[in-house]
């Protein structure tokens, strides 16, 4: 095991009604302020800032013309944007580590904000649906009506169904169990709105095989966290959350030739690296915060990490396991499916709360190791889930 050198010492979230009436930039600045306060720091202590953005897979989203560190008034020595699709937290931490190692920064504020719900209202007023996702240079599928994430992500579910006999009801079991978690999270969009498997099956098809409830939410708001070094983390007022392992994988090289990446994510190398650094095995993971843009991505990761065998994810989730009271608590916030969509910052924020013991009614007792995954990325048309990041956090 590598001795942890870095820790998350502050967390800030702007979500739900709290995010109304501000831009994503404003939400980023406010989440940053909250994270700095949570860390017991002052703005002048923060000497670097990173913005996390879905610059690729989520569509064409140029950076704001004005940036949150200016708005917040940080005396930052560096500021830039990182991210690839929904892989944000892991890439942000890896980047910040370099600046901490070099002594350029003592505390790095890492923030990601979105205004996707607001944007979806705007596109609806234009007679379109979902987030506009079609003007990327070289984007292949646009004239064929491949216009939104479900247009190509659903190939993954369709192919898994074909190869392994997985059913829509089994995918629905994931949505139902995540909803049960959301009903224990007062911050979640779907708090107080329980879902049955019949609700899932009766929800309309958007892109068959995906029903509406196989598809994640879009949100407004922001998540911010402060990363620092082990020696400084010891002085933190909140219990530090240690970065114990970080790994990455890519399936793009298998896309057109091997045709294998339609039923798995790029977990193999990411898991080996992250679990190796942390010196842990799968059974040591107390809470799994798995990137869940769609239900099948959760199923794939349950198989790829080894909670069940490849192809057996359907029966596995149908038995339970991942909801409240299950032996593999997955997406305890309600996830992107039922809580809020801040990319993998949804996963990271929940892991921090769980490891601090701040997760209220949904707290997994004695949670000491959390797995946070992210994925996404640009591909010409199908699949999309190219990068996979694996982050092991420890109490």
């Amino acid at each position: 095991m590598v001795k942890p050198k870095y820790a998350i010492v502050g967390l800030g979230m702007v979500y739900g009604p709290y995010a109304e009436g501000v831009t994503a930039r404003g939400a980023e600045a406010e989440a940053g302020r909250l994270a700095i306060a949570d860390a017991g720091l002052k703005r002048e202590d923060v000497d670097g800032a990173l913005q996390l953005r879905r610059t690729a897979g989520g569509g064409e989203r140029p950076a704001w013309a004005d940036a949150f560190p200016r708005m917040l008034g940080l005396p930052f020595k560096f500021f830039f944007t990182v991210g690839r699709g929904g892989a944000l937290a892991g890439l942000g931490i890896a980047t910040a580590m370099g600046f901490l190692d070099l002594g350029i920064a003592k505390y790095v504020l890492i923030v990601g904000g979105v205004e996707d719900f607001k944007n979806s209202r705007r596109t609806k007023a234009q007679g379109q649906r979902g987030m506009v996702h079609s003007e990327k240079a070289g984007y292949w599928g646009k004239p064929f009506g491949d216009l939104r994430a479900p247009s190509h992500h659903s190939f993954l579910a369709a192919r898994h169904m074909y190869e392994y006999g997985t059913t829509s009801r089994q995918l629905g079991a994931i949505a139902v169990q995540e909803r049960a978690w959301a009903c224990k999270n007062p911050k979640a969009k779907m708090y107080g709105r329980p879902m049955t498997i019949e609700d899932h099956q009766n929800s309309p098809f958007v892109v068959e095989p995906y029903h509406l409830f196989d598809i994640c939410l879009v949100s407004d708001g922001a998540v911010a966290f402060v990363l620092t070094t082990a020696d400084r983390a010891k002085d933190s007022p909140k219990k530090p959350v240690w970065v114990r392992g970080l790994g990455s994988g890519e399936v793009a090289d298998e896309l057109w030739w091997e045709k294998k990446n339609y039923t798995h994510m790029a977990v193999k190398t990411a898991k080996e690296q992250a679990f190796g650094q942390a010196g842990i095995e799968l059974k040591d993971v107390d809470v799994a915060e798995l990137y869940d843009c769609f239900t099948a991505e959760v199923l794939f990761q349950l198989e790829d990490y080894g909670w069940c065998k490849k192809g057996e994810g359907g029966p596995f989730v149908a038995e339970g396991h991942i909801g409240p009271g299950g032996d593999v608590p997955v997406n305890t916030s309600g996830g992107l499916l039922s809580a809020y969509h801040y990319g993998d910052l949804t996963c990271l924020s929940e892991a921090v709360m769980q490891l601090r013991g701040e997760a209220g009614e949904r707290q997994v007792k004695g949670a000491e190791i959390a797995l946070v995954t992210g994925h996404g990325g640009e591909l010409i048309s199908p699949g999309m889930c190219s990068i996979h990041t694996s982050l092991v956090l420890g109490a």
Partner: protein, 151 residues
């Protein structure tokens, strides 16, 4: 994207859907579609086929994609995966609902994203043989859609 005004004979019609998003890497292929030629990128040294455009995995192709060229391919393949769109994300697709977007495993090897036409979506199966069916959507643009191979 705004609707595109198209002159068809003496009648101005409107093509209401988004047009292809073409760049310098893909332009030759789109020019081929316009002539109803199904071009893929091929290594002249070993005959390996690529799509989208790529360096050959078996050769260096220096400098700048040497020994690779756009080459007419069969335009035939099999359904690898497909989905059925029940909602139009763009109003231009509303009349087509439900429509099929599929990955076709071309006989040459690459996977190709396209619409499947000429069949009830729920009759489509993985492995079904399909072939290119050109759709001249405007005088400037032709879409390489696919249809089941006639028995």
């Amino acid at each position: 994207m705004s609707a595109t005004e198209v002159a068809k004979g003496n009648v101005m019609t409107t093509y209401a859907k988004p047009l292809p998003n073409v760049d310098d890497d893909s332009r030759p292929q789109w020019e081929g579609f316009k002539q109803h030629k199904f071009l893929l990128f091929r290594c002249t040294k070993c005959g390996a086929w690529y799509w989208p455009k790529a360096f050959c995995r078996n050769h260096e192709n220096a400098p700048m994609f040497a020994d690779l060229e756009w080459t007419e391919a069969s335009g035939k393949g099999k359904i690898f995966a497909f989905n059925i769109h029940h909602m139009a994300f763009h109003p231009g697709f509303q009349p087509d609902i439900p429509y099929v977007y599929a990955l076709v495993e071309l006989d040459e090897g690459p996977l190709f994203g396209t619409n499947i036409v000429g069949i009830d979506p729920h009759q489509i199966t993985v492995g079904m043989p399909v072939e290119v069916a050109y759709d001249d959507i405007t005088p400037e643009w032709t879409l390489p859609k696919f249809k089941p191979v006639a028995k």
